[in-house]
Symmetry: C2
Subunit: 216 residues, 2 copies
Amino acid sequence: MADRSDHREVNELEEVSPLTLNRLSFYLRCLRHLQESGVSRVSSQEMAQRYHLSATQIRKDLAQFGEFGIRGVGYDVDALATHLSSLLGLDRHHALLIVGMGNLGSALAQYLGFNYGSFRVVAAVDNDPRKIGRKVANLTVRSSADLKEVVRESGAEIGVLAVPAEAAQENYDALADAGIKGVLNFAPVRVKRRTNVPLKNVDLRINLEELAFFLR
Amino acid sequence: MADRSDHREVNELEEVSPLTLNRLSFYLRCLRHLQESGVSRVSSQEMAQRYHLSATQIRKDLAQFGEFGIRGVGYDVDALATHLSSLLGLDRHHALLIVGMGNLGSALAQYLGFNYGSFRVVAAVDNDPRKIGRKVANLTVRSSADLKEVVRESGAEIGVLAVPAEAAQENYDALADAGIKGVLNFAPVRVKRRTNVPLKNVDLRINLEELAFFLR
DNA sequence: AGATGTGAATGAGTTCACAGCT
DNA sequence: AGCTGTGAACTCATTCACATCT
């Protein structure tokens, strides 16, 4: 039905499982790859085979947000990529602010570099006076005390927490207060989140520990 | 029953859900924290409250591997920590080998440093002749061509993949062939795993993209 | 009494199987 | 004919509720 896909917008902000979101990101990456390969149409089955996914799941995941496919034919690669890109908010750049310029913070600054997909590191703060003013990967480290100002000036939307475990909660709260819209937390603690400031955890140690389990 | 906990060994290598494994790592971390705080006994309820967890789930998770608690009393913090540590294979050191010494690989080498919990970076390889021989964080970068030799000499057990997406699969396979026991993959692709070489993925970009979804 | 360990109930997520378009 | 979109079946995970033990 024609208006079915117009209703898509209605559903977009409903609860989407993180697992689904995760896969959608991955689908988009696959589609980019297909674009590079010059493929303009793809069926869920073909995608599944190429990238080790489940065809049914691809269809279910996409169907949550509208009818993007053509029955009997498949999906238009460009169109679907555009839809997903917009759905995931990747059709524009997002500014990152790194909090904590120790080993991890500096490493991330270097790795993410100036430009990382739709993401751009625009500022870095630390509370150690010895680090403030130092240059790391084109950024001048600023004081955590000036967080609000830094956020406002830089237009940062996403905070990247690279502080010690003890400091994670207070820094998350400070970021939230400073108007940051989302936080990626590398500190190995469970931070209490506010409903309006989404939080994703990346815990390197837990990942290593899960592997260690298989090596006993 | 007394012999119930002796049978624990029998179950240890049965399929354990990654979700459970993940939580077990986290429980251990909580227990370490309790030890530092001088707490010697803890109930599932108390742990749940302190660290924002579910008491029932803590009990179910632990019960899979034996009867570690005392009914009516709770868990002995030290004893449980020891059990979990051994269960997860964290009662000894694990040697890491970093593959790919670009931005991410170097960043990881610096961050993980010489000693990171039970994990120790013992070697680093790259296939770029310009990088071979360079020193990064006390390590001399060696050639990917010598992978087998490097693994044997260094005793590396876990490979850390920090190579571009295109190179991930071949490097995973090379690691497996070289006798590596597990792989932590930072490349943004789904690598086809061999049953005897466990694989964990850490995908920074997907995590950022999931956050971006909430900022549209 | 008070906390564990666990079957039973519920809920979330995935896969199946097919109706409905093109 | 072929592939999408989707209710129904199924599997996996979490939560409930209570018997069991100290």
